[in-house]
């Protein structure tokens, strides 16, 4: 009973924040709505007996990625998204695609309801941090190392992307003033 109430509370909060993210034109409001989605999903992970992933969700997504997004919003001094003249059928197309996706969702929902589910052992250690750490550094050691290399490549790529390119020789040819 309590788990039902908690699920619907956090699910409603996540869906409301997601709709708010899409609805708002100001990127700062969208970012704050996205933080709400992350917090709600973290609570849902706790109800699914995944404490490590729940805490990592708060630290990595709500803490690191969203702070970076808000830095970019303030650095670029972004304002509201200006309304543009768009072809009317594109909105209908977007809504139609959304309805198709939702239909697929309900089909999955229906399929899982028809499948007989095995009962969950509440004392299983599948969600514990100990079993996750053991799996990470024994059976799945290679993917973990690959992730480290990928993060290093992303850092180098971000630095290269963000720094100004030196255009000493080409400036006279461009005739374009930099900055």
């Amino acid at each position: 009973m309590v788990s039902t109430a908690l699920f619907f509370l956090f699910a409603g909060f996540a869906i409301a924040c997601a709709v708010s993210l899409v609805y708002h034109k100001n990127p700062l409001y969208s970012a704050i709505s996205l933080v709400g989605v992350f917090v709600a999903l973290s609570c849902i992970y706790l109800t699914l007996a995944s404490p490590f992933i729940a805490v990592t969700q708060i630290l990595v997504y709500a803490g690191a990625i969203m702070v970076l997004v808000i830095f970019v919003i303030m650095l670029l001094n972004l304002d509201d998204e200006q309304p543009r003249t768009r072809l009317a059928y594109l909105y209908t197309l977007g809504g139609g695609l959304g309805v198709v996706l939702l239909a697929q969702t309900l089909f999955v929902f229906y399929s899982v309801l028809k499948t007989p589910l095995q009962p969950v052992d509440p004392n299983a250690t599948a969600g514990s941090t100990l079993s996750l750490g053991r799996a990470m550094y024994t059976e799945y050691l290679l993917p973990v190392e690959i992730v480290g290399i990928m993060l290093l490549m992303a850092i180098v790529g971000a630095v290269v992307l963000a720094r100004k390119q030196a255009r000493v020789g080409l400036e006279a040819v461009d005739g374009k003033k930099e900055g």
């Binding site: 993210l21 969700q57 997504y61 969702t105 996750l132």
Partner: protein, 101 residues
């Protein structure tokens, strides 16, 4: 009803649909970026739900990998957005049209 696997899958699908529609509707590169983050998180919820109901740690490990990929995407994607803004003084994705010429 008690929440079961189907409930979590339905929530995941609904969040993914909202994110996909947001990517289509948003013209702002940063808004599109945030909707993509929403889609990644809804898929993470599916992994955690299956990990719980099948008693398998692999799903949680996969979520950890998805989080690492999302961190890389945040770093490189926001770098691209800053570089784009430096060139175009806007982040409207309709202005990203050099390849058309």
């Amino acid at each position: 009803m008690e929440p079961n696997l189907a409930s979590y899958l339905a929530l995941s699908g609904i969040l993914f649909t909202i994110g996909a529609v947001g990517v289509i509707y948003k013209r702002n590169a940063l808004g599109m970026f945030m909707c993509i983050e929403l889609m990644l998180n809804s898929v993470n919820l599916t992994f955690i739900a299956f990990a719980r109901y099948y008693g398998d740690t692999t799903g949680q490990l996969f979520v950890f990998m998805v989080m690492a990929v999302a961190a890389c995407e945040a770093a490189v994607g926001l770098g691209i957005i800053i570089a784009f803004f430096r060139n175009k003084v806007t982040i409207d994705v309709d202005e990203a049209s050099l390849l058309k010429n």
